[in-house]
């Protein structure tokens, strides 16, 4: 695996294939990647308004989906941000959102490649 790739869990993708075949995996990836930029933008907007609850909600949802799809680093970053937001600590959230923004294209590339391999 390329050193720049995110920390990922290929077993999570195998598990989803076992649950529902390539179609489930592909459909879940599509839904996740569609929602991903919206969730990050919404979290950043919440941070801009100083609304910790909005940030917490978006990062919690992102944490859950990222874990199910094996995007481990995105999961950990989301969890870290969720806990900060839950504690009402806005300091540090901007850095985490920056890290998540940087993580997005890597996760997108990894999941897209995984689905392409499945359908090949």
């Amino acid at each position: 695996m390329h050193a720049d790739f995110p920390e990922t869990d290929p077993e999570a993708l195998e598990r989803l294939r076992r649950f529902g075949g390539d179609k489930l995996l592909g459909d879940m990836v599509v839904l996740f990647l569609e929602a991903l930029p919206r969730r990050l933008a919404s979290a950043r907007a919440g941070l801009g308004r100083g609304e910790c609850h909005a940030v917490e909600h978006e990062l919690h949802a992102l944490k859950s989906s990222a874990a199910q799809l094996g995007a481990l680093r995105m999961h950990r970053l989301s969890q870290e941000g969720e806990l900060l937001a839950k504690a009402g600590t806005l300091d540090g959230l901007a850095r985490i959102l920056n890290d998540l923004d940087a993580e997005e294209p890597r996760v997108r590339e990894w999941l897209t490649a995984a689905c392409t391999r499945e359908s090949a």
Partner: protein
């Protein structure tokens, strides 16, 4: 056929639950608490899978409404949540959930067994 109500705002999670449960159960889905509380009266499910972090009313508030409703209060309600820190299980069971299953779903038998326990309570 047994009917499972899924209250979950994440579309990818709803898709996963449909894949896991759709072969064995009928499923009715709600994306938020308002729709769920209105729909449960009509749908009359056998078990409810209830996410905690939802827009608007959260899962705890929805559960409170269910338990306060004479028609719904006996429904088995399973917390299906990514809140999986130490003590969360006890917290949600103490709040009145019948069972607690964490996301991500790694071992589907844990979910299936929780549903079966809920159905046993219903019988």
């Amino acid at each position: 056929m047994t009917l499972i109500a899924v209250v979950e705002d994440n579309a990818d999670n709803r898709l996963l639950l449909h894949a896991l449960l759709g072969g064995d159960y009928d499923i009715v889905e709600y994306e938020n608490g308002t729709d769920a509380l209105a729909g449960l009266h009509t749908a009359r499910p056998d078990v409810v899978l209830l996410d905690i972090s939802l827009p608007g009313m959260d899962g705890n508030e929805i559960l409170d409404h269910i338990r306060a409703d004479e028609d719904l209060r006996s429904l088995p309600v399973i917390a299906l949540t990514a809140h999986a820190m130490m003590g969360d299980r006890e917290k949600y069971l103490a709040a009145g959930f019948d069972d607690y299953v964490t996301k991500p779903i790694v071992d589907e038998t844990i979910l299936m067994e929780a549903i079966e326990r809920g159905l046993e309570r219903r019988r």
